[in-house]
Symmetry: C2
Subunit: 491 residues, 2 copies
Amino acid sequence: MGKKLTSQSEDYSKWYNELVVKADLAENSGVRGCMVIKPYGFAIWEKMQAQLDKMFKETGHENAYFPLFIPKSYLSKEASHVEGFAKECAVVTHYRLKNAEDGSGIVVDENAKLEEELIVRPTSETIIWDTYKRWVQSYRDLPLLINQWANVVRWEMRTRLFLRTAEFLWQEGHTAHATEQEALEEAQQMMHVYAEFAEKYMGVPVIKGTKTESERFAGAEETYCIEALMQDGKALQAGTSHFLGQNFAKAFDVKFANKEGKQEYVWATSWGVSTRLMGALVMTHSDDNGLVLPPQLAPIQVVIVPIYKGLEQLDAISEKVNPLVKELRSKEISVKFDKRDTHKPGFKFNEYELKGVPVRLAIGQRDLENGTYEVARRDTLEKESVKAEAVVDKIVSLMDEIQENMFQKALNFRSEHITEVDSYDEFKKIISEKGGFVSAHWDGTVEIEDKIKDETKATIRCIPLDAKKEAGKCMVTGKPSYQRVLFAKAY
Amino acid sequence: MGKKLTSQSEDYSKWYNELVVKADLAENSGVRGCMVIKPYGFAIWEKMQAQLDKMFKETGHENAYFPLFIPKSYLSKEASHVEGFAKECAVVTHYRLKNAEDGSGIVVDENAKLEEELIVRPTSETIIWDTYKRWVQSYRDLPLLINQWANVVRWEMRTRLFLRTAEFLWQEGHTAHATEQEALEEAQQMMHVYAEFAEKYMGVPVIKGTKTESERFAGAEETYCIEALMQDGKALQAGTSHFLGQNFAKAFDVKFANKEGKQEYVWATSWGVSTRLMGALVMTHSDDNGLVLPPQLAPIQVVIVPIYKGLEQLDAISEKVNPLVKELRSKEISVKFDKRDTHKPGFKFNEYELKGVPVRLAIGQRDLENGTYEVARRDTLEKESVKAEAVVDKIVSLMDEIQENMFQKALNFRSEHITEVDSYDEFKKIISEKGGFVSAHWDGTVEIEDKIKDETKATIRCIPLDAKKEAGKCMVTGKPSYQRVLFAKAY
């Protein structure tokens, strides 16, 4: 286990980095900026994937797979897209290595230079729309509702596990529609799907909204997003869904014959969430003892630790515990009975606390005599003694209770960290001292958005969907504004 | 739908290429050698993945994720591995593009050259063993039983959909053990898991065996494999499992303290199957009408086609069919009720035949009056009329019957295509005329293996596990041999 975690109050960023590694979620690899997702971390990601995949299929989407490589020329076809994505990327220039003539090892074979460089996909709009061109002729071929689970690469100079890595895992949905309205509805629908997933499964409350022009996806006409608040008062963009208009259809010449036989360009959306969600999960719930995982995503929901001296006592305990394990599993609760004799109970308690297992049961000689278990909740760290015959019901209800409590706690934290301000001085004070979201009037110009960012590091996270119309004045210029937008420093 | 498929007898290779595209499994992309796996094809792959993943987990493995990129120097660390894999590969040399100074588009930024080139993984032993070095200190850390689902790239000059593509999807298991015996057992176990999957789920009979030294994985001490036979008499290697000895542990200096506190090198295995299995599935079962899918892997197991004139008839049919659909789904049978009014029944019949849907139900006015359905099996193309009240049971039993029949048919074909020969002339005749596996004596030398390959294009597919000891003479040199090996031309 090693020594204790740095505390959140001492250094939040250091706490995060240590926790991700110590709790066996991920670690840095020998390749700059690329992470290894360890089995325990990957098991959480698999649970996220399974649930999201189910929700995508329930909304009519199918999975497919498109190439890892994108020819350089494809990226240039959509003007604003290339500006956003062609810059920091991994470029494949050769297709062969050979033994060096001086025997010093292997070197790139200069005779195997590609005619056109290939870019490792930073996102797949271009290669997918090049494909859709072949798939769409008539309105009967629409809509195309397709998702892919894939790895993508964006060369990042400063990386952090899960939050910003050169390679990351994600899903990217790419849909094609006959009408603008249908594409808009699809983009909005997927924002709602993401929000439901974040809140119901991750226990992470999110604010739905749209991005300002300068924060929009490169190539989009509207970007819908869900924004979460981390414990250190910084925001994290947890998912985005883009209405792409006809931009990619025009760039790749994708037209369809409508019911009247007239040729029209296709309307598009794309939407994605990534392993970044792992970072959001950690920074919403965890504490100085380690991870706190919501039951819906915990690879192990219940751990049972026996406290015993000698094999005879362990046998007596196992006789009680084995049927309990079986019963819990029949209720689809994942249980681990940790009988290892190489580690003491105290060590195990710390380990499962660090790994965020929602419920821990302990059973010792006294419990055996009294017919009880000690039941400990990871979220509140509360312990209580529960009669053996009531323990299954207790655990079943704890699964819901913990899930709900974690969400509520995060929601309360966020409510306390949305501050309405009406002056720029107040804004600067809140941003630098309290953090969180700041709700303020803004005159709608990129210039002021940039000025605020330069002076405070805060950006407009979103224009909330549920913002009420409210006449006001831009806190910087005093120009009229008709609604508040949400600012924050962000990951 | 377009025009009919080329027939198998006319041109098997052309038939395969056409079928993969027309049945919506996959197609070539704009990137040389890289395919697009279309939704219908991907749905089959997802079913394969789900089942394999379950079997891996049942045998104690966990999933994780390792980087896409491998530093060039890593590949050189294991001498025979680099010979096998460093040659034809995608090399990342730069990490940035920029606008060309002459305004001609985007070009590689020569200032963003990597100090060390990165190779897009052709397989991940090196990056994973570089990681395991950090994970293994003591015997308590062993075994490591880890799998990853990933994309890999091997630059191929001649590519064919699923069978040989530059990028493909696969899983790669990488395990680390304290003893040679345990690693050997693991490698053998995974060969058996693959064989069970191929036979029980894909309906593809396979021969288990070991590879000769020259056909072994680069870096392995023993390669176990499963070999399948395609309808054109060529063999296809469907999965391999490698006992890697201590080669990678030595190359990456991965040692552990054993129970006595002594440092020892770790023992390794790796094993994988890929989207190549899709090719094996197609070329084992399909026919001139299209795909034939085993129920266990079919995305749609039952399709129901209504034959009607006017909405009133359709309504009457739907009233019958809707509860049937519900009942079949409750039995976890995937059903599609194709009510489209844009296509005629005959068109639909052809479409689902092409796509290999195992069971087709048709219901028209006469059936409605008689209380029957027309039930058609894709594997035998047989049709029969079944009373409505018996149709659920019929379908349930057909799922098993078709699965079993497809396997038996493939097994019979293979049995007819294993020929024992004792002279090289006979060998050449069988290989060039009949095809299939040829069982023959061989003197165990690489020279003769190469000679046979040069002269006949046949290679030793495997030394079968169940081969009985049998004194004989090498068909080429007459030198003594103690067992037969299996030759074939192969994909």
